[in-house]
Every structure is written in C-alpha cells, then in structure tokens.
Chain length 255, copies 2
C-alpha cells in the first residue's frame, strides 16, 4: 500500500474573494507548501490577469481551481471542515491555534477529504458558513491590528501544515469514516423537517434551534454510521406519525 499523502485530500476553499490578486497570492502560498487543490465560492473576478500575475508560477493551482456557486458545492465529499476566524468571541465552535489544529487536519486528511475554509477580505466567514465547520482556527495576532491579508493567512496555515508533516505519523487503527458534509446537511434537513412536523417550532425559534443542534453534532464529529442511525430514528418518527395520523383519519373521517 502506498503511504497516504494527506495533502492530496486537503482543499483550500476561498469564499467570495473580492480581489483576484489575493486568489493568485493564495495559490502561490499553497504551492510553496505543497498544497494544490483550490476551491473558489463565487469569486468576484476569476480568472483574471491579476490572479495570474500574483500566482507567479503557481498557474497549475489556478488552472485547476474549482469554481463553485455555493458552500455546499465546495464542501461536497468533505468529512472535516476547518473555518478560519479572526474572532475568538461569540463562536459556537471549538477554536484552536494553527499549531494545535494541523496535526488533526493531517490525521483526518490521511483517510478523508478535508476543507480549510477562508472568508472574504472584509468580513471573514458568515455565521452560516461557520456553521458548516467542525473546528475553528484562529491565527494569533496583535490585538490592535489583527487583520491578516487572506493570502498571508493561507501562507501561515499552509506553512503550519507543512511543518506538521515532519512529525506526522498516520494513526495505526483508522477511525470509522466521518460523515461527509452532504450527509450531515441531509441529516440536518431531515431533522428540521421532522421538528417542524411534530410542532416543535411552534414554541421555539427554528433558526436558533437548528444552529444549536448543528453545534452539538459538530462537536461530536459524527461518523457516517451514526448519521444512518439518527436518520433511521427520524424516518421511524415520521412513519409512526403517519400511521397515527392515518388511523386517526380513519376513525374520524369527518375531521
């Protein structure tokens, strides 16, 4: 068996990048550290001569970049999403420094696709985007001036990943496969529907509640089999409700 190359399973995802030069500089930063899979969610201008100029030879990374129209498309197949954040407050997510986080990123990337998610130049990631991640990463910076350029942030994280490979040892016993992004989204959608059906949202704010449930399941890093289990319970709940409703309708045909 070939030695696994975790870098092949790592994608850098840039969301709604405004300046094409930053996309090029990010591609160059990735390539200097051996990363090559770039995903772009609705970039403002791409391809663009400025991106190519700033890539300074990392043209292959740019040429192979996958342009997506939504975050769900960019996270297709991904089993572990890391959200980069400049904020430490009001985060409903575990947040680590790059040095702490990269060993786990490598470990997970040894067996399944991993995404490193970067937000826009001006405002970072949206709450919705943060909600898709299992881990937050914050680059420690000076409190008076904490705004790293996005390509500079990609450089620091890629560098930490590269340094982490030096002491990386793949886990002997692979964990059970983690659920992919789309499997989790499927679970959340079904869960929301069932909660709606059983009338749970009449007393609760649906949006806030779903956010809390996402947080809970993010923290537990669901395995694929566990998603099956939870979805099985939800399906049974729906079927049982349907049976009850049917029986009730038969007994009260005039309702």
């Amino acid at each position: 068996m070939n030695k696994p190359n975790p870098f092949e399973n790592i994608r850098v995802v840039l969301s709604h990048t405004t300046h094409p030069g930053n996309i090029g500089a990010a591609a160059r930063a990735m390539k200097t550290m051996g990363l090559r899979h770039l995903y772009l969610i609705n970039p403002k201008r791409f391809p663009d001569p400025q991106a190519t100029a700033m890539a300074a030879g990392a043209d292959d990374v740019l040429n192979n970049a996958v342009v997506c129209s939504s975050i769900d498309e960019a996270l297709q197949g991904v089993a572990f999403t890391v959200a980069m954040t400049a904020r430490l407050r009001d985060i409903s997510l575990k947040v680590q420094m790059p040095r702490e986080a990269m060993p786990e990123v490598l470990q997970r990337a040894a067996t399944q696709p991993v995404a490193l998610l970067f937000g826009t130049e001006m405002s970072g990631l949206t709450n919705e985007e943060m909600g898709k991640a299992q881990l937050g990463v914050n680059i420690p910076s000076h409190p008076d001036f904490s705004s790293l350029n996005i390509a500079a942030a990609v450089q620091v994280v890629s560098y930490e990943l590269s340094v982490a490979t030096q002491s990386f040892v793949p886990a002997e016993q692979a964990e059970l496969p983690a659920a992919t992004h789309e499997r989790l989204e499927g679970l959340y959608a079904q869960l929301e529907k069932v909660l709606y059906d059983i009338g749970f949202f009449t007393t609760q704010n649906p949006e806030r509640l779903m956010k809390r449930l996402r947080r809970l399941y993010s923290r537990s890093r669901l395995e694929d089999e566990e998603v099956n289990l939870l979805r099985g319970i939800l399906t049974k709940t729906t079927e049982y409700n349907a049976r009850l409703k049917k029986r009730y309708m038969e007994e009260h045909p005039d309702v």
Copy 2:
C-alpha cells in the same frame, strides 16, 4: 525595571525591493504580529500608492519606515543580523528553520538591536549581504516551488516570532554585549588593511580570504570586548611594523 519588549529592538530590513505593493504587504504582515520597525534599502519605488493600498491600515509602519542607501546604513547599531535565504546549499552560514531560530532572536532582542534581512523578489540576498549576517533562516518549502512571496515570508517569520514570545523568558544573566554591525565592519576593514600591509594577499585571493574570515567571526558571535581585543592586536601589529620599517629606513637611508 520594565519588562523588556524584544519587538522594540527588532527591525525588518527589505533590500532593493522591486514592487511597492510588496513593501505595503510586508508592513501589514509585520503589524498583525506586533512588529513596527521597517528599514528599506534602496527600494525601487517608495513611497508609492500601491504600498499604501497593500498596507491596508499599517500606514504608521510605512510612514516610519527608514529608507537607507546601503546595507551598512540599515544595520547601524545592530548586534545580531538574521539573513533570510531560500537556499540551503553553498551557504557559508549556519542556517536554521524559523521555529528554531526565533527564540534566539528574541533573547538577543531583549538587550540589543536585531535585524531580519530579506532580499529582492527575484534573487534574494547577495553574497555580500549574506556576509553581514550571523545566522541564516530558511522557511522550509516544497522543493518544486520554493519561492515564497517576500511579504508572505515576512508574515511567516513575524508569526513565528509572535508565537515564540508565548514561551519567551528573558535570560537571567545577560551575556556580554555583542559587537554591533559597524564595529564588526570596522574590525574587518582593519584586518583587511593589515593583511594587505604584511603582504599576505600576495599569495591569497583577498576576497575569498576575507569571506572566510567573516564566516569564522560570524560563527563565533563576537562580543564587543573581543572586537576591542582583536583590533588592539591589529593596531599593535601595524605599530610594530611601522617601527621596524622606520628603523630599517634609518639604517638603510639609500633604499
């Protein structure tokens, strides 16, 4: 006594930078990590609107940047110079990775000025510039594409410095002060002159020999007192030679 702030003693020196955008991006990178002393040796264009745009708020670092016309001017007062290099080969200098080197940088900066020296975008530092340094630092990168953008390199090194402060403890017993850059240059100039006077260069390539001597003394990280000692020996040599010469001239007035 105030706790020493090593960052106040650290200057980032960019030599012959071509693109003003890179100067601005480097200033931003420095400021995110709490560094603020920028020195520019013969920048191609500075000040420049592109530098200001890329600084994105680190205007104070740009406005206070010291523009110099030579490396000796930029290293005035510096007692420890670190040269950034993309090469590991043919280096007549000890080379470390940023993570290894930054604790020593902080330790030295706790008491004396330190310079982090970055070369041009295209070709890095010249051999002459490398010869002014006591330590080389190489950012490990992918062998097929090892060219980090200069501002990205500044970001990585500043980041490593910032992380190193977390575990930094100033040495209890300060070492004796290291010789400053200009004191070392004074020693080398005197040494070269004496070697010329005594006829040493008639059998040796002066340039190569001086390079080897610089290397030797760089490695030993001369203290200020040791420079006094060596210069004292050189001065005595010259005086002794002068006396001998004078006596000879007196005894052979017709030579």
